[in-house]
């Protein structure tokens, strides 16, 4: 799903994804800057803390829009399969890690790392599926 592909839905997805990444970067920088310089409290602190997450949620929405717009059913199938493999692998890794934390006291896995882990594992799944159907 690259920005230079002939597939219009994939091109739009890529552009929107990059836009959400830009928003994420801006929101994260803004939140860090505000907390370092002003130490906000109350509703403003909550809003600033959640801003970067809203951009991430936007990425999930953008993926949903891609699935709705993709006319090539096979490409849609690959996208859904890679998402499902990514979700399954992420749940597997995190549930195993959770039990390890409880019983053998491995280092705590920060919840903020779960989404990048999902992206990484979905990306690997997407690559493997591309190879399978090459």
């Amino acid at each position: 799903m690259g920005c230079t592909t002939n597939n219009p839905a994939a091109r739009r997805y890529c552009r929107r994804f990059l836009f959400t990444m830009l928003l994420y970067t801006l929101f994260l920088v803004l939140a860090v800057w505000a907390f370092v310089h002003f130490r906000p409290t109350g509703p403003l602190a909550w809003l600033l803390a959640v801003l970067p997450a809203l951009a991430i949620i936007g990425q999930l929405v953008v993926f949903g829009i891609y699935l709705a717009e993709e006319k090539d059913e096979f490409q849609r199938t690959i996208a859904v399969q890679s998402m499902l493999w990514g979700i399954g692998a992420t749940l597997s890794v995190t549930v195993v890690w959770g039990f390890l934390e409880n019983f053998v006291h491995v280092r705590h896995l920060d919840l903020i790392l779960i989404y990048p882990l999902y992206c990484f594992l979905s990306g690997i799944s997407f690559g493997l599926l591309q190879l399978r159907y090459k």
Binding site: N7, K71, D72, E73, F74, Q75, T77, Q130, R132, Y133, K134
Partner: protein
Amino acid sequence: MKNRLRVLRAEREWSQADLAERLEVSRQSVNAIETGKYDPSLPLAFKLARVFGTTIEAIFSDEK
């Protein structure tokens, strides 16, 4: 599901890319259908039949 896509394409001297363009799908999609790795939906099967001027049964069979 078995299919006769390769034969039908060869009769018309179409490449996978030619067929993909007519179906408005990717070449990868045509390859996946042709090699039996992916079974198309009914609408796409009808579109294939229209493109080749034949019936779905003449393209696909449920033999293993």
